[in-house]
Amino acid sequence: MKLHIKYDINICSRIILQEQLDKLQLPYKITGLGEIEISETISTLKYQELETNLNKYAIEIIDSPKNVFTQKIKDAIVEMVYLEDALPAIKISAHLAKKLNKSYNYISGIFSEVTFTSIQKFINLQKIERAKQEIIEDKETLTEIAWKLNFSSVAHLSNEFKRNTGLTPSAFQRIIKKRKETDFTSQQ
């Protein structure tokens, strides 16, 4: 038996995309041919999963190599700041160069071009983010947090914190505590 089949490649691709995006429960909009808008920031893990799933249908995500590389730099920095208990004792530039197997000049050049900020500023931002979490958890003293995040002293941590947020660590802690006591939904 021979069957003759007629199909519309655009509709096929669209349905595959919809199925795959639904599977990962991503909020999306197919905005045109070959373009999807996802309205939340997706994790690297989900992004990779989506990429792998789509590749089975020979659908590729076209992302510029620079963006992909920048994501790798960010991942390496986040891993360095969050996963390891204390920051590496060797210089951060050497650590990144080794990890990504490229010269630090090359790494920092691409990073600034794509993110509009320097690696150093991004690391500071991430360190302060981690300090915020620790301050909110309120399990360790500022001295311990400062040591863990490679600040030379509590004063150094407090200064950096103030420079990044405009607030002292204690004002920040007080505000977040008060916020938690406020139930926003009951204000209406």
Binding site: T41, F116, T117, L125, Q133, F184, T185, Q187
Partner: protein, 149 residues
């Protein structure tokens, strides 16, 4: 990952302030799309329209006719649909008490309006670059507080 532009909305009843804001923001390197409304009532009407693409960042003048910035802040923070929007208070007051109150009520950024255009440019560059980082790097917005005097 690709991120196109940061969507910004300014609610301010002062014509000059809106103009300065627009001119200053055009010089920031991050790509932005700016929408402006004249007061709090217009702001809430705009945000609650079903078909709009919600802004990533709202600049809110505290002192507006019809509906104040503080009222808008509370309405935005008690509405689940609007919870991801970062809010920057844009005010003439620099009182510690006012700053802390808006933060507790859910503001992310507090900016004391500068009188100098150059300072405004550098403040907006800082605010937008940091927002861009939060927007593109999946940082925890709940802990995002920034006070600029």
């Amino acid at each position: 990952m690709n991120h196109d532009a940061l969507r910004i909305l300014l609610a301010d009843d002062d014509d000059d302030d809106r103009l300065f804001f627009k001119e200053a923001i055009e010089e920031v390197k991050v790509k932005t799309v700016v929408t402006m409304v004249n007061d709090g009532v217009e702001l809430m009407d705009y945000l609650l329209k079903a078909e709009i693409h919600l802004p990533n960042l709202v600049f809110l003048d505290l002192n507006m006719p019809r509906k104040s910035g503080m009222e808008c802040l509370q309405e935005i923070r008690s509405n689940n649909k609007l919870k991801d929007i970062a809010i920057a208070i844009y005010s003439t007051s620099g009182l510690e008490k006012d700053i802390e109150e808006t933060f507790v009520k859910g503001a992310n950024i507090y900016i004391k309006k500068p009188h100098d255009f150059e300072i405004l440019k550098s403040i907006l560059a800082k605010v937008i670059t940091i927002n861009w980082q939060y927007h593109t790097s999946g940082l925890n917005k709940e802990n995002f507080l920034l006070n600029i005097q």
